[in-house]
Amino acid sequence: MANTLKEFEKLLHLALDRKVTLHRKLMMYLLCLILAALGILLLLLTAIGGPLKAEPQIAQAMESQLHTTYDKVSEEMETYTGYSLQLSRELERDIEDFLDEKGMSVSDLNDRPELLLEIQKMMYSELNTTIRLGRSSGVFALVNATINTQIPEADQSRCGVYLRLINVSSNVILSPETILFRGNTEIARENGLELHNRWNMELNTEGLLGYQELEAGLGQSEAGYYWISRMNLKNTWEDVILLLVPMYTDTGEFLGACGIELNAVHFSLEYPATASSYGSVVTVIAPVENGNLRLDQGMAGNTEGTWLGNAESLSIIEKNAYYSTYRSLKCDYYGIQMPLEIPGSSGQEWAVAVLIPRESCDQYILRNKAAIMGVILGFVLIMIALAWLLSKKFVRPILQGFQDIRDGQQTGDGKYRFAELEELCRWLAERGNPPEAGDLPPNMAELFERFAQNVKTLTNAEYNIFRYYMNGYEVAQIPTAACVSMSTVKKHNGNIYRKLEISSNEELMMYLDLFRRCDCIEKLQLDEKTDVSGIETDK
């Protein structure tokens, strides 16, 4: 372990001591400045709404919620429609059979309470099944006749049964308890039902938009049914939208109508507000009029976490690439909408929309922007600080080095951190102070010493020849000068090369030249071997 630490320490020192090139340091410095500049650019772009916007994320979340909601609403509406059409078929058949049996038309039922009670009993049976299977908050059916044509408003009073759930306290009611909202009290007594606090014997068709047109044989929708926009059930606290299905005999005589209610409380429980980072996401369905969402005629899911009220119209005041801005009485909302394929009364078009309070959304966007800008700002500051540090740590020593050079202080001792500067200083030093004799590099001195020692091993005859070389003679000149044959010279040359540990005349010449250049040639002079005094030392 200790060894490992020592090794690591050594490596660290090596790394720290390693000379870094000026080029690399400059690169790092410039890189920091470039990154800082990029950071500032990104900061500016973010500030003016650049590429890191939160809007696409918000739109994506809304779209996801909208599609889920749309599927759910469509499915629920289809289910209600299916049950209502089924109910209308059953009631059409029952009432028609009843009328055939009695040999009557619908209008003959007026002022016949006992017959109308029988029809109400048939209705109750079908309605009770429908409310339990269809899981709606209320179902109704009315026949186009009244128990008493003599009372005021008899033209709007129609005999029928309207069953409602006592409590809509949850979205799934396994065993719903029902209450009689409209209908003969006999129906309630027979079936153990309570009367609604605002019970009436008959249904008033005034609130059933389009019913009078149906009575008059007009206004039947292409689909054969239609949804009536939100209305308050008179004298109650509850609001509903109604699906109304007209009923006819085989011969086309108008029998009455039936349908299902979609209760505002039920809708609110069925579509809870979804908490998101951007605020509560609220679902609404509403008729669309001149591009405005008529929430006062539609329904809102749970509005928890928002100030959205039910009795307002939402107008689109702005649209961007991602979503629209809706204005209500109290607040603005961001949202998106999709057309809902349900037939409305008088051709009304419906849409399903999801809304997020603008306030909370804007807060999220700003928070998001502030967070991104904070991170970028931090990055920029770090880069600037790094560049400043680099300049301080690396540029200042350079300047110091220059100053030292200018001041003529000793350089070239390895104190510079940059290889280039050190090299420069060495070069300058070499130029200014040529190397002195004896100031040989250690390896060169050793080489010289060894060569001089080898020279001492030469015999006198061999040294005699060697001296001619020292004095600048060529091989060809030596036999004449030394009065020996060429073969003798060659023989001595061989011995000289071997003893001096060289391999050629060129190498010998190089050594001699080096000795001369270093003013060390006298180291090769041997006094006792001076029998060649006749040799000219300067050729």
Binding site: P113, T146, I147, N148, I151, S157, I166, N167, V168, S169, S170, N171, V172, I173, L174, E177, I179, N184, T185, A188, R189, G192, E194, L195, H196, N197, R198, W199, N200, M201, E202, N235, T236, W237, E238, V265, S268, L269, G279, S280, N302, T303, E304, G305, T306, W307, P357, E359, S360, D362, Q363, L366, R367, K369, A370, M373, G374, L377, L381, W388
Partner: protein, 456 residues
């Protein structure tokens, strides 16, 4: 070269950081999303609830300032809310869980699997604040030493009379309203009324109408027996003592002979259809009496409804049932619990409380509110409400209030007795209408059947 000072850079960095911080501060300074509380209550039943209007007012004013939004999801009656609360508290399939606040009697809380899930209001109300409330109302809401049912309005039982139809009866028979001061007198009139109405259509025998309907027959027996100086309950069951017989006889006599309404449902129903003309019910039911009666041929007739104190027994104490549920708050976050307390404090401020209670037929819950109540009564425009509050004040001054005991099996006993006493007497009445003349025997048999149907 001029040397730059490093503090210039430091100031620059600080300014930039400050700008970012200021942006963040600006972000958090906006209008907060509201704390939303869901509420189930009983003030209005299925009608257009006056409390909903007050809640709307709260949302617009204090709620808007404090960031609180109250959202009403159920308005029903205490029985339905009782069932819904217990289903939700027991996590039964199909329930969406409890709301943040709901109206409940202590009996509902006792029947919950874990009353500890409810907020103890002492955590949010100081002793000084609580001292403003009538102590008996607070005590009623205490369970195991925790204040979990908070009083916002209290009711009592009141007698309502369809004076329009009663006057017709009086005109023919000489019956007087004063006969309704005692139960004995009321039940005598009941039998007489049946005969009188039966005689209206001589061609249809046996179509007489009931005179009287009681919302809770169980209360009649309980308060009646107690008013005669005996305990109604023995252990967790009914003590069938002498006083019980004295209470049973006039009631059963009239019931068997068609004078008492014995169908299921609330007392308001037969009054609305003219099938009875006198009822005893919670003062709160004033909201459900309409000023018209609708007959079986769909004719409607305007009527005058008046209120009187409930009858008492000759030689009996003047005793009347005190009722009135309170608000329970389900434990959640401190913000929501605090919001619930703010709402309840607002609702029980004297002026708000009196406005609230006088719109729904209740009594206020603080002494300060009682002080301003009489001024409000004088200004009530609806004669039905004015009559009610006159009867209220009469009851307050001359009656003792009786509060039902609290024990786990109370609700079951009440519901079983209520259902059986109606059905057994209904059967006896049918026998009488079919020709059985021995009323005494029918009464005895009915009582035996009732006793047999109750848990031992």
């Amino acid at each position: 070269m001029r040397k730059r000072k490093p503090w210039i850079y430091i100031i620059g960095i600080l300014v930039l950081t400050g700008l970012v911080m200021l942006t963040a501060c600006g972000v958090s300074g906006g209008k907060k999303e509201p704390v939303t509380l869901t509420v189930w209550h009983v003030y209005g039943g299925q009608t257009d609830s006056p409390l909903n209007d007050l809640i709307e007012e709260f949302n617009e004013t204090v709620g808007a300032e404090e960031g609180i939004k109250i959202q009403v999801t159920v308005v029903s009656n205490t029985n339905n809310i009782h069932d819904a609360v217990l289903r939700a508290a027991n996590d039964e399939p199909g329930t969406n869980g409890l709301p943040d606040m709901f109206i409940s009697y202590p009996k509902t809380v006792l029947a919950m699997p874990d009353p500890e899930i409810l907020v103890d209001y002492r955590d949010y109300f100081s002793d000084e604040e609580l001292s403003a409330y009538i102590p008996a109302f607070l005590e009623e809401g205490e369970i195991d030493g925790r204040l979990v049912v908070f009083p916002v309005a209290k009711s009592t039982e009141i007698m309502f009379i369809d004076k329009t139809l009663f006057d017709r009866f009086t005109a023919d028979t000489g019956a007087a309203l004063e006969q309704l001061d005692t139960w004995e007198g009321l039940f005598e009139l009941s039998k007489e009324y049946y005969q009188w109405t039966d005689a209206q259509t001589p061609e249809v025998p046996g179509d007489g109408k009931a005179f009287f309907v009681h919302d809770y027959h169980f209360n009649y027996f309980q308060v009646g027996v107690e008013s005669l100086g005996e305990d109604f309950l023995r252990g967790n069951g009914i003590a069938y003592g002498k006083a019980f017989s004295k209470v049973w006889k006039p009631y059963a006599d009239a019931a068997v002979q068609g004078g008492v309404w014995l169908q299921e449902g609330y007392a308001t129903e037969p009054l609305r259809t003219g099938e009875t003309i006198v009822s005893v019910a919670s003062s709160a039911s004033v909201l459900y009496y309409e000023d018209i009666v609708t007959y079986s041929d769909n004719r409607s007739e305007p009527i005058e409804v008046i209120a009187r104190s409930v009858p008492c027994f000759e030689n009996g104490e003047r005793l009347v049932m005190q009722r009135g549920a309170g608000f329970c708050t389900v434990k959640s976050t401190p913000e929501k619990e605090r919001a619930a307390a703010i709402f309840l404090k607002w609702l029980t401020e004297p002026e708000t409380n009196v406005r609230f209670v006088t719109s729904v037929g209740y009594m206020p819950v603080t002494d300060a509110a009682f002080e301003v109540l009489s001024d409000f009564i004088e200004n009530l425009e609806d004669p039905k409400y004015r009559s009610l509050y006159e009867a209220f004040l009469e009851t307050q001054s001359s009656y003792e209030f009786y509060t039902a005991p609290q024990f786990a099996g109370y609700l079951e006993l009440e519901q079983t007795f209520e259902k059986n006493v109606r059905s057994k007497l209904r059967a006896a009445c049918s026998s009488w209408q079919e020709g059985e003349e021995d009323v005494e025997r029918l009464m005895v048999e009915a009582l035996e059947n009732v006793k047999a149907s109750l848990p031992k």
